[in-house]
């Protein structure tokens, strides 16, 4: 049973900007789904349409079977991290959460437990204007967790986090998934998604380019064969004749298309010495770049 359903969704800002173009997808219960795309791809707009902050131009969005605005006590069903800077600078972190909790009919005890979950209890009495970007991000995450929701929508949660914070976030997301929550997380830090998400949605220029389990998408993507050879230039020419994609840097080649066996046999048939031959499974970043139609610099 899908928790989030998006059908033929489009959003136009003014007459010129088509931010989201006929996007459809669903997110199953209890999964972590990564929402990938470059800045300006339309991820945030879709996230905001899921919670009724932005009205679709056309199409349909449902969360937990209905529109967000029709859910009873929506913040206890769906938690959203959309804007880490959306707190009054003069208000303390605790009061910022209390305001939301009060409006949502959530008890103050949840404020303290949410602050503890994001390890911000020690700074809860300080004004938000004194918080670092990472602390504001954690406060926004605490805000999303206030109602102990079954669905979490996290828009770029790793923004402003230091490496330690990123590690903490990964652990946090795994813990959320272990508790059976459904998480839709957008990010342009692909390594972060790769380590946490089961499924991905890849979006660019408002269009959904691919969706599915990471392993399935990776299996369908071309592996990269890495070769090191003193005759790299000669091998490059032969590979290009056979239609392979090749990037060369001195004696190193990154080859897309033929398998490692085919590359090895081609080298042997042409008396080319190889110092290294390695078939590399594509990373999520490779996958994203292939699908988005761009190439990573080798």
């Amino acid at each position: 049973m899908p928790v989030i359903e998006v059908e033929d969704l489009s959003k136009r800002f003014g007459k010129k900007v088509l931010a989201v173009d006929d996007v459809s997808f669903s997110v199953a219960a209890g999964t972590i789904t990564g929402f990938l795309g470059p800045n300006g791809a339309g991820k945030t707009t879709i996230m905001r349409m899921l919670v009724d902050l932005v009205r679709p131009t056309s199409g349909r969005v449902t969360v937990l079977g209905g529109r967000y605005r029709d859910l009873t006590h929506p913040t206890t069903r769906v938690g959203a991290l959309l804007d880490a800077s959306g707190f009054h600078p003069g208000r303390s972190g605790r009061n910022a959460l209390r305001v939301v909790a009060r409006a949502a009919g959530i008890g103050y005890d949840r404020v303290d437990s949410a602050l503890e979950m994001v390890e911000l209890a020690g700074a809860a009495g300080r004004a938000v204007k004194g918080y670092s970007t990472g602390m504001k991000q954690r406060l926004a995450l605490a805000c999303a967790l206030l109602g102990d929701p079954e669905v979490l929508l996290l828009d770029e949660p790793a923004n402003g986090l230091d490496p330690e914070g990123m590690k903490w976030l990964r652990g946090f997301l795994r813990a959320q998934a272990a508790e059976g929550r459904t998480v839709l997380i957008s990010s342009h830090v692909l390594a972060e998604i790769e380590q946490t998400a089961d499924h991905v949605l890849i979006i660019s220029k408002g269009k959904l380019l691919a969706r599915g389990p990471i392993t399935q998408l990776a299996a369908g993507a071309a592996a990269v064969v890495r070769v090191r050879s003193p005759q790299a230039q000669k091998l490059e020419g032969l590979l290009l004749q056979k239609g392979a994609g090749v990037n060369r840097l001195d004696t190193a080649l990154a080859i897309r298309g033929p398998s490692s066996a085919e590359v090895g046999e081609l080298a042997h048939a042409n008396d080319i010495v190889l110092h290294e031959l390695l078939a590399e499974q594509p990373s999520l970043e490779d996958l994203f770049l292939q699908i988005a139609g761009t190439r990573r610099e080798s």
Binding site: D83, G86, V100, A103
Partner: protein, 259 residues
Amino acid sequence: MIDLIRAEFLKLSSTRTALGLFIAAVIVSVGPALLVMSLFPRDLLDGEGAAAAAAATGLTVVPMLAVVFGILGMTNEYRHGTITYTYLATPRRGLVIVIKLICYALVGAVIMAVTALLVVAVIAAVAALRDIHPSWLEASAISDFETLRSIGLFLLTVGLMTAFGVGLGALFRAQIPTVAGILIWALAIEGIITVIKPKIGMYLPFVAFQQLTMGGALHVGEDGGLPSLTRPEAFLVAIAYIAVFSVAAVFISMRRDVT
């Protein structure tokens, strides 16, 4: 609904906006009162002396602060981005605006009531020090029905003007242009229109709010003076303005994207 009202009061008590309004109101009302009562000659202040009443004129400027307070209440939500969390917690946007209108009207009126009491206390204290006895400070005059009615109308006007400010803020969102625009409108444009076209001017919002407290005091009618509305008429006009701006704000807010 009760939770929303409590959340709105928590928003107010956890920032300095309301305190700022109170301090500004005290400065513009207590300051002139103190100066008049301290520096004016005694014979101008004693008995039926008109200057004593003039000491409280600072209070007439104060309702304008209430409008600004209302505008800040709504535009701060957009300025600081808290509107995202407000609408996530309460997706019924119309309800958010209505609750804010009510809460700000109440808080604005209470702040002005405290300010007015402070002004009277300061005047009474200085009068006692200078051994002056303004007739309007006598207990019988203060408890007089007319006086109490005037105080009630003053607080009602302040509440309505604060609500008007919330409606304006919800409609226009941009803080500085809205505050600047409304001050220019209230202090300059309405005055010009009232002088050029008095019969239109008396229906303008800030003139109507003023007439609500003054209640036809400006009215000289057929003998050539400025035409003005009676208090009930001014009340209806003020309510109409608040209703129009609030309904427009709710209507537009429901369709507006929060990006």
